[in-house]
């Protein structure tokens, strides 16, 4: 089956799964679909909510793509997201002055990349030097990151009055500009799209990216060609962490403006299905993140007649991934027997 057919099938499958889940939840199809559509695209505010949710999903999704393409299961997007935001918040508190303007924003975004990349570097080091699977180390690091966040917001980074476990709000000059001051949407979405194009070029148009994909697809070929496998994997995991960290920074500078215990919102995990359904392709990640971003925004609009809300999105993500796995199995099987 060629790529386009597979993409078309995925899109149809996603719609089918949406409708099936609505059926399974006993909701009226037509009315629910129109409400979801209204909530996601009905007016400028809806669009703004959709794209606001899409942005971190794109960035974390791209992070997942880079690591998984190199054969490393980074499921630590959550922790890297948190560490990125934490690093941003530290720089905002101690280094970057509100008067810096755009330079300050840039510095904070760079900080978030650095934070996420360094956090992922721990897992990378454990994998390369000690043979510890990235699944396990990134998972463990998520917990440490979340405790670190809770410690920071009730300790060194706590707001000046020391009453609530959260940081001070960022100065207005250090926030990403919004398209409309009343809505969620900020220029972070432009950053995310640009990064997606950048990741595409890196993976598919550069020598480094090619090597990275070979290492992930077939380590034996990589070794036979004397690729520096370890260095490539190390770099890919750091890049991956950097992107998840950037997602955290963008969320901080674009949406919340402060850090609190509820900051992570599981975006690091939700990005895994986003990347998988995009076939680990950076440009398809844009579409897949947009689909789930729209669903997150749209399902909020169902509240008037069902308590389902975002639970629907989780079900669709889970079902879609299992569907994709099944699809791959059934389409690959004949080829495998030919090879025998």
């Amino acid at each position: 089956m060629n790529r386009h057919a597979q993409a078309a099938l995925t899109v149809c499958g996603l719609l089918a799964i949406l409708i099936l889940s609505l059926l399974a939840f006993g909701l009226p199809i037509g009315k629910s679909l129109s409400l979801i559509f209204q909530g996601a695209f009905g007016d400028p505010y809806a669009w703004s909510r959709t794209l606001g949710k899409t942005t971190p999903l794109i960035l974390c999704g791209l992070g997942v793509v880079i690591a998984w393409r190199a054969g490393l299961y980074n499921i630590g997007g959550e922790g890297q997201f948190v560490l990125g935001a934490l690093m941003s918040a530290c720089w905002a508190k101690w280094l970057v002055m509100p008067g810096w303007g755009y330079a300050g924003i840039l510095a904070l975004l760079v900080a978030s990349c650095v934070g996420g990349a360094l956090w992922a570097a721990i897992a990378a080091w454990l994998y390369i030097k000690r043979g510890v699977e990235a699944v396990i180390s990134t998972l463990l690091l998520n917990f440490v990151a979340i405790q670190l966040l809770e410690y920071a917001v009730s300790g060194p980074l706590q707001e000046a009055k020391r009453q609530v476990p959260q940081t001070d709000g960022l100065a207005e000059t250090l926030m990403l500009a919004k398209f409309n001051p009343q809505a969620d949407l900020h220029y972070g979405v432009v950053v995310a799209v640009l990064v997606a194009v950048g990741v595409f070029i890196y993976l598919f148009r550069t020598k480094d990216g090619f090597r990275l994909r070979v290492v992930g697809d077939n380590p034996n070929v990589a070794r036979a060609n004397r690729f520096p496998t370890s260095a490539i994997q190390f770099r890919s995991l750091m890049l991956s962490g950097g992107l998840c960290g950037l997602a955290g920074g963008v969320e901080l500078l674009g949406i919340t403006g402060y850090l609190g215990k509820g900051f992570p919102q599981q975006l690091g995990f939700l990005a895994i299905p986003v990347a998988l359904l995009a076939g680990l392709h950076p440009l398809w990640v844009l579409l897949s993140a947009f689909y789930f971003g729209a669903l997150f925004a749209g399902t909020q609009n169902l509240a008037s007649f069902t308590p389902a809300g975002t639970t629907l999105v989780y079900v669709i993500q889970g079902a879609a991934v299992l569907g994709l796995v099944g699809l791959r199995y059934w389409t690959r099987r004949p080829r495998r027997s030919e090879a025998d």
Partner: protein, 285 residues
């Protein structure tokens, strides 16, 4: 501090971790254990709430956990799908379904429901006894029985297992089923024994912690149990300190087990302890 409270905090995590360890010994890393626990907790609550009988709840939760784990196991063992991918999907499905069913039955108001507790003697109940007996039983079964040997072979060197006449898929599915039963029971105990209530996403990462504890405990039942006891102790200590109003940065203590696990991994590496075919799908030749 009351030892029994620590034991109560530890039990759900330890049950899930033992199950996870048995799965991993057979080469299947079940990232979906978080979802298994959540499903177990939810259906245990539903059944106990409907019948007023905690035992029915325990059975319902365990069976639900078994079913959802077997669904994942079918994809990862039978279809040879990527175990991390399948586990992630199972977690999302479980989170979505339990949250939706809970909201549609009890609303989103956060109404507190209380469930019939398990009959106990000084806080020691049947599940805790089962856990205490289960640890030595797991040691014995893994080391001394024919099936334990086959199970370990499925995780270390599946080809050899196949060559000696076993079906790798069958052995792995049985291991997955055991991990599902223990994970479901862990969830059921969380809602019936520990909280005597249910809340959306009430496992809040305990399943993931169980996975971490398997690594921390170096894939040995007694050490995995010990690791869980440590986490349970820190958990209980944290509540204690909070209720006394101490201002201790307890997050650092809670992060300790994970940091220690990472340090152990950094020092000794994966070594020869981790099952060598862990997370590798096996297809017959």
């Amino acid at each position: 501090m009351d030892v029994l409270i620590v034991l109560m905090f530890t039990t759900p995590m330890a049950l899930a971790a033992l199950g996870e360890m048995i799965g991993q010994k057979a080469g299947v890393i079940n990232i979906g254990v978080e979802g298994t626990m959540l499903t177990g907790a939810f259906f245990a609550m539903m059944a106990a709430h409907a019948t007023g009988n905690p035992w029915v709840g325990l059975i319902a939760g365990t069976s639900a956990g078994l079913l959802v784990t077997l669904l994942g196991g079918w994809f990862s063992v039978k279809l040879g799908a990527d175990q991390v991918v399948v586990g992630t999907a199972i977690n999302l499905l479980a989170l979505g379904l339990t949250s939706y069913l809970f909201r549609s039955k009890f609303g989103t108001s956060g109404q507190l429901l209380s469930l019939p507790g398990l009959p106990n003697w000084n806080r020691i109940d049947a599940v805790i006894l089962f856990l205490l007996a289960g640890v030595p039983m797991a040691v014995w079964a893994l080391q001394k029985t024919r099936f334990g040997l086959a199970l370990r072979a499925a995780g270390e060197y599946p080809k050899a297992l196949e060559a000696s006449g076993f079906s790798v898929a069958k052995v792995r599915l049985v291991a997955v089923a055991i991990s599902g039963i223990l994970g479901g029971l862990a969830g059921a105990y969380l809602s019936l024994g520990v909280a005597q209530s249910f809340a959306e996403n009430m496992t809040s990462g305990r399943g993931f912690i169980a996975i971490a504890m398997v690594t921390f405990g170096r894939w040995r039942p007694s050490m995995v149990f010990g690791a869980c006891l440590l986490v349970g102790f820190l958990d209980a200590l944290q509540y204690r300190f909070q209720s006394l109003g101490f201002d201790v940065p307890f997050q650092l203590a809670i992060a300790m087990p994970y940091v220690v696990a990472l340090l152990v991994l950094a020092l000794v590496g994966k070594g020869t302890v981790a099952p060598s075919a862990l997370a590798r799908p096996y297809s017959k030749e």
